[in-house]
Symmetry: C2
Subunit: 423 residues, 2 copies
């Protein structure tokens, strides 16, 4: 087969300059999450295909990169004539399925609650587009085994702090954490008169509010067969100055049985997180926030950068997922940073690294091919001495076109050049 | 399909304690390689299957995890009845094939020579065994576009320094860098009387010297049809106190045409590297060093830890590989650290991290479920203040079995506990 120079469709080569930014951003995020007591874990990039196709992953399950069986197992599968038999493993499409397996496998050795930090690539065979890749890095924190709202408060506070630091480098000192609760969402739809079994569909439509507006949502509800009075009553709930609407007032208006608990829980999350985060972080109750994933069971959150209109982080409580998955109930709550989006925002702002300015730049020794062994060795020794002083130094052959050589080295971060000529 | 708790065969879950060691070792290695002017790059974990099966990868090509085509392309492949059509991509089995593709794709933006550092997982569907995994981390440095032995000298010096630092933490202050040259290997076999087309096979046998000894090698040569006089003359070359044999003396004895250049080149590499490395690093000419990979064209190197009898790093010059692969000749030389073996050596020595001792340990606030909102919030505020002072703090619900809770937290690195009771 012919050699292909390009990376696989939707995947990216990262050059030294890319890595410098990516590494420095990850280091910042990891440092801040560590300060909240999150400890890092790592799972294999591949999972059993059965774990990936347990219906917990929603549409992502359609986007799995599947790995072929090998040897005799492959021969048997091929001979069986059943195409579903070909696959043994798949590349993970998120970090939550592996986390569930990890916890089931290792929980005896882990504290409870367990605070996990995971950073690593995931794969989805989605149609590539600007900012959408087939291999991309996710950066997740999760609290497993904490049913109290300490989990939500710490997740929101930690993620806000990480985002403040990282976005601050791009001159972005304001962003909004939208907070809602699945129980409030369901109660609001029921209050407006939607039947229990219609609510899932109603939320799918409400989730499009950002894109299609209230008129679009109303039209889609009606198109889907909603009663007009019902649709109208529903949308009325969200109108007004909803950014400042307090959670309690909204829930009182719905006045559903059992909602008081969700309401005071969310109120405490919001007020605590507000008091514990920087001024630039707006924490708002947003009764229109849905979040796509069906597995959320309680509070949900999403971070938007005000002037960009994009979501850069999201999460929520998913108390039932791990149990469905592993057969043993574990309450859980997580927050995931959209790492590739953060990188895109920083690049657009011209940020090249988050490392502090102490970096002096590297030195290159350029050695003429005709220089004597003694001169070469002398240069190697001087380079070594500089490294011992903490400097970064490369010893390289001098090119005929030294001007071009120096130019590309400068682009890589070299700032000083020592030239060793033959004479 | 049923849920599986265990990771895929031959792959590993890394717990927080594992990650602490792995991360700190990688950080050390990366820091030292940066001081030699190596800059980090990253390529996608998947490559075009054609790139992975171009016959450059030797036996590794038999161990590829293959990724299935998707959608209509998969349907067509299935219907074709040709099993070779099923696969579009594969997981990389090393970092050298992706580096070759990367360089061909991006060389206009890279300096020449280009010094690349790559760290990342690779996959091989090998039979798992102690210390042999199906997903494992490789840590490679490569110099592309440098035909001078500055490449070899800097590769050996940089890798020796990284290994000194890392192994030093395990109390290992001595290791040996074995150096040889493919041209010397071939000339020695020719000198003993082997025909040109027999030499490849002879080297495969010589490569087993460590395991089967001189008698075993002789027996295998004879079993493979070698002339007894030839085999005996060949082995005679390597006997004697070979560790101290100088490269020049060995080559003079062979006295082959054109060998003087390889000999003086290797002599300069060895003497320069000796002068530039720590005392504990033994750099020796080892005429029996073969290294399996067929693509090496010149100097080759391998690092062994004297008391362990294992190889922990290896590399060499492979001037023809990238050209065969991409159609454009680029000379290249690399050194790869066996990261998982280093980790195994450190673990065996009881090393838990290479981070400096400044780590005070983290603090856990344990909050009684009956504590008032005010008390909870007060704890959250105090935790935040401690973080601002640079401490790592987690706020957690107190467990009924607090003794066990504290024990597992201590295992995770928490050293201080603040208990917030209801009263």
């Amino acid at each position: 087969m012919a050699f292909s120079k390009k990376p696989i469709k939707g995947m990216t080569d990262f050059l030294p300059a890319d890595m410098k930014l990516r590494d420095s951003v990850l280091a910042q995020i990891k440092r801040i999450y560590a300060s909240y007591g999150f400890t890092q874990i790592e799972t294999p990039m591949m999972e059993h295909i059965g774990n990936l196709t347990s219906k917990q992953g929603g549409d992502n399950e359609k986007l799995i990169f599947k790995v072929l069986k090998r040897g005799a197992a492959f021969d048997r599968a091929w001979d069986s004539g059943n195409r579903d038999e070909l696959v043994a493993e798949g590349l993970r499409y998120d970090l939550t399925v592996p986390l569930s397996r990890f916890y089931a496998n290792n929980k005896e050795q882990l504290p409870s609650p367990f605070r996990a930090l995971q950073v690593g690539p995931v794969w989805r065979a989605d149609q590539p587009a600007k900012g959408r890749f087939r291999q991309f890095v996710q950066c997740d924190i999760d609290v497993l085994g904490d049913s109290t709202n300490l989990a939500e408060i710490e997740l929101i506070t930690a993620t806000s702090k990480a985002l403040s630091r990282v976005l601050g480098a791009a001159g972005i000192d304001k962003f909004t954490v939208h907070v809602n609760d699945r129980n409030i969402l369901r109660a609001a739809a029921a209050k407006a008169g939607f039947a229990e079994d219609a609510i899932g569909g109603v939320l799918v439509t409400l989730d499009k509010l950002d894109k299609i507006g209230f008129d679009g949502v109303e039209k889609e509800l009606l198109d889907n067969g909603a009663d007009p009075a019902c649709a109208s009553a529903y949308l009325e709930l969200f109108k007004g100055d909803i950014d400042d609407a307090s959670c309690k007032a909204f829930c009182d208006a719905i006045d559903a049985e059992g909602l008081a608990e969700a309401s005071s829980n969310l109120d405490e999350i919001i007020s605590s997180a507000r008091a514990l985060t920087d001024d630039g972080v707006q924490i708002v109750f947003d009764p229109t926030l849905v979040r796509g994933m069906g597995y959320y069971t309680g509070p949900i959150f999403e971070v938007t950068v005000d002037n960009f209109g994009i979501s850069i982080a999201g999460g929520g409580r998913y108390d039932e997922m791990i149990g469905k998955f592993s057969g043993e109930d574990v309450c859980a709550c997580g927050f995931s940073i959209g790492f590739e989006r953060i990188i895109a925002v920083l690049r657009d702002a011209g940020v090249t690294t988050l490392s502090d300015g102490a970096d002096e730049g590297a030195t290159a020794f350029l050695i003429d091919g005709k220089a004597s062994s003694e001169k070469r060795f002398e240069a190697l020794e001087r380079a070594q001495a500089l490294r011992d002083e903490g400097r970064d130094v490369a010893v390289l052959p001098m090119r005929k076109n030294m001007k071009r050589q120096i130019k590309t080295l400068e682009e890589e971060g070299f700032t000083q050049f020592e030239k060793i000529y033959a004479n």
